[in-house]
Symmetry: C3
Subunit: 146 residues, 3 copies
């Protein structure tokens, strides 16, 4: 579903941290939205010193998270707030609890401008999506005309 981009200083996360955080994000997305695990992408980008500024000042203790969410519509105010709460919970041990400053935002991507392995992802909660989730990979299927 989503592509998470995590911009952080090089010292912020070890290899093990990155694997744990991306696993925690994946677990949270699956719990929240019941999507296949492989829908969740996480990209870490190191922000060298003096490349990230907040309010005009170098912010070298800052983690910026930008998420493109695709596979599920965040339809109601309650779901949107819950999504942001879940995000904060999953980030906290890696960011807040380690003394970083941080900021997060989500952008919403139209579902019909998205492909995985060249395939149109199946409709949310469909049998095919459940199969993809179970197999944890994109499997060719017959796209319905409707």
């Amino acid at each position: 579903m989503p592509l998470w981009e995590i911009f952080a200083p090089e010292s912020a996360f070890t290899e093990e941290d990155k694997e744990q955080l991306s696993t925690a994000i994946t677990d949270a997305c699956v719990a929240f939205a019941d999507i296949p695990r492989f829908y969740v992408g996480v990209r870490f980008e190191v922000t060298p010193a003096n490349t990230m500024y907040v309010g005009g000042k170098a912010a070298d203790n800052f983690v910026r998270v930008v998420v493109d969410t695709i596979a599920r519509q965040l339809d109601t105010r309650e779901i949107r707030a819950a999504c942001m709460d879940a995000t904060e919970m999953v980030l906290a041990p890696f960011v807040k609890d380690r003394g970083f400053d941080w900021e997060v935002h989500f952008d919403e991507i139209p579902m019909d401008l998205w492909r995985i392995q060249g395939l149109v992802p199946p409709p949310a909660y469909s049998g095919t999506e459940k199969l993809w989730a179970r197999e944890n990979r994109a499997i060719p299927y017959e796209v319905s005309a409707t």
Copy 2:
């Protein structure tokens, strides 16, 4: 029109590949949407090992493509599907046929929050746009009040 961002392992593309792929993308965008060639931007970003995760696992054989599309509205379901089909066709020789995993999504950018060389890009299919296409550069012109 669009900004294509292509996140891929360092080994994925040679200098020659990058030029060929960005040319193929440009050709496809021009054929699809009849826009000036210089509207098409492509940025390649190397994803070092252990910076891209899919489903919580390091995905070091993965190409992630994110496109911000601007100059044309993708108005109908048919055009949107055709846009994604064209995208897959242009990527296939560089991605699928080389054995990479891959995923693509497009985001839609409002046309009025976009400038090239400080200029408001002319209306789609206008005479000025055709001039820009012919000259393959942004040329100052009188922006109509309407």
Copy 3:
């Protein structure tokens, strides 16, 4: 409010340039939208040679600016044009006047999918937002039920 991402060749900006440009962007955003200074994030990313292509050709003299705007709605055509004009004014001394080619676009992010330091940013122009601006930091407050 906004996250500015500035993709430029390594030679484009010194450390001092980056601080000055991010300060100029912050000043402009505060003047334009009356937001707290720390809402303005600017991330510089170096584009190595042969990673940025325009119209299928390597564009090694090119500055690409992508802004995600969040804290204020750009409601009217006039405000949207004024926003882009202000952007060009702030960039000109660092980009146009130095002989770079450049292109800019803004994407609009829904305000309710955004958190700073884990907090829901207060409503635009509210007393709490003014307090955040004065203190130049996120301060916990009681989020109203409405």
